[in-house]
């Protein structure tokens, strides 16, 4: 695909219009999409865990955690000319890919935890969440069209939608 910027797992990128950002196969991870509809600058982060506080060690990858990824992405986007007060968010992913028959398994429920925590962090940072497609038990591939702000969500067996 031409002009499409790929965001990997534990990765984040930003683009100006008409760039397209995509991340493939979001499972229990969460795709955070930030967009300024005035400057048409968009950003995408594919986070794995909610908070960098649990990280041990000193070489922290900012894009891996919701809190640090949001800060970093906001920094990059405002650096490109986006205005903080114009930026809104969309959340995708956080599904439970596998169900455990023998009761509760915390690891398998990480998706829901990721979504809850990310919502809380966005609220703390005063960023409005305008749309959300989270949960379920299936994977999602997303594409952000920075020209329009439309976020396309593709799934296997659960259709295609726009939010």
């Amino acid at each position: 695909m031409d002009g499409v910027i790929k965001v990997g797992m534990a990765d984040l990128k930003a683009t100006s219009s008409p760039g397209i950002l995509t991340t493939l196969g979001l499972g229990s991870c969460v795709g955070i999409v930030l967009y300024d509809d005035k400057s048409k600058i968009g950003g995408m982060a594919h986070i794995m865990l909610p908070s960098s506080r649990i990280a041990n060690g000193n070489n922290i990858n900012d894009a891996k955690f919701a809190d640090t990824a949001i800060d970093k992405l906001l920094g990059i986007m405002t650096g490109m000319g986006a205005k903080l007060t114009n930026i809104t968010a969309k959340l995708v992913g956080g599904s439970q890919m596998f169900t455990s028959k023998n009761g509760s398994n915390d690891v398998l429920k990480i998706g829901q935890k990721n979504v809850d925590q990310t919502l809380k962090i966005l609220q703390e940072k005063d960023i409005k969440v305008v749309a959300q497609d989270t949960g379920g038990n299936y994977g999602r591939t997303i594409e952000l069209y920075s020209e329009t702000g439309v976020l396309l969500i593709k799934t296997i067996g659960h259709g295609v939608k726009q939010i």
């Binding site: 797992m9 493939l24 196969g25 499972g27 229990s28 060690g57 990858n61 690891v107 296997i156």
Partner: protein, 207 residues
């Protein structure tokens, strides 16, 4: 004290590969017995992969796969996944049953087919861990298998997130199982958690 990936040198990798070889050999034998067919396996690969370069070992993250997921706990812990393409999974089921399975339901895989695949995953993982256990004298318990038919990136996000706490990379011990001219090709992934490496290496007396 868990080893960091920087401390896992080539000779440790060779040992982990050899352990993979023993485990996978036992798993291939059990699959062969189950199907009453000759099953080939590749030499296991042990690779340390960064989360953002997942594509390099599994192909595109939106590749559609049937995945059987198991966890093992005990002296060492980690995740086992048996990953097949849709065609491979269907071929494996018909070989197992001895007849073509036509799914009339709207879902790609029927409940019956999913159970069959889960059981294959269970037997393979059991055989693999059995060999590892015999060799290392470590004991571990296998979880009940789960199944997903979805994008490989989404499926692998589950074990990756477990690693996310400690590292930006994970170690995969990978073996391909093949039958016929690739009519069935499965990817058997063992992803031990970070604490387990030093335990394995100590149990083998190399650390």
């Amino acid at each position: 004290m868990p080893l960091s990936f920087e401390q896992i040198n080539d000779s440790y990798m060779d040992i982990l590969k050899e352990l993979g070889n023993i485990g996978a050999g036992n798993a291939a034998t059990s699959l062969s017995v189950m199907l009453n067919r000759r099953i080939d396996m590749s030499v296991p690969k042990a690779t340390i992969v960064g989360f953002n370069e997942l594509e390099s070992i599994i192909g595109s993250e939106d590749l559609l796969v049937a995945a059987i997921y198991l966890e093992f706990t005990g002296d060492i812990q980690g995740t086992i996944m048996f990953v097949l393409s849709q065609d491979s999974a269907k071929n494996l089921i018909s070989l197992l049953m001895g007849f073509e399975v036509n799914s009339e339901e709207s879902d790609v895989f029927s409940e019956f087919e999913i159970s069959a695949l889960q059981e294959v995953g269970n037997i393979l993982a059991g055989a693999y861990l059995g060999a590892v256990s015999m060799f290392t004298k470590l004991t571990m318990k296998l979880s009940i298998p789960s199944f997903a038919f979805d994008m490989i990136g989404a499926v692998l996000s589950v074990p990756m997130i477990e690693f996310g706490h400690l590292s930006d990379r994970a170690l995969f011990i990978e073996t391909d199982f093949m039958y016929g001219s690739n009519s069935i090709k499965g990817d058997f992934l063992v992803i031990p958690d970070l604490e387990s490496y030093s335990i394995i290496l100590k149990a083998l007396g190399v650390m």
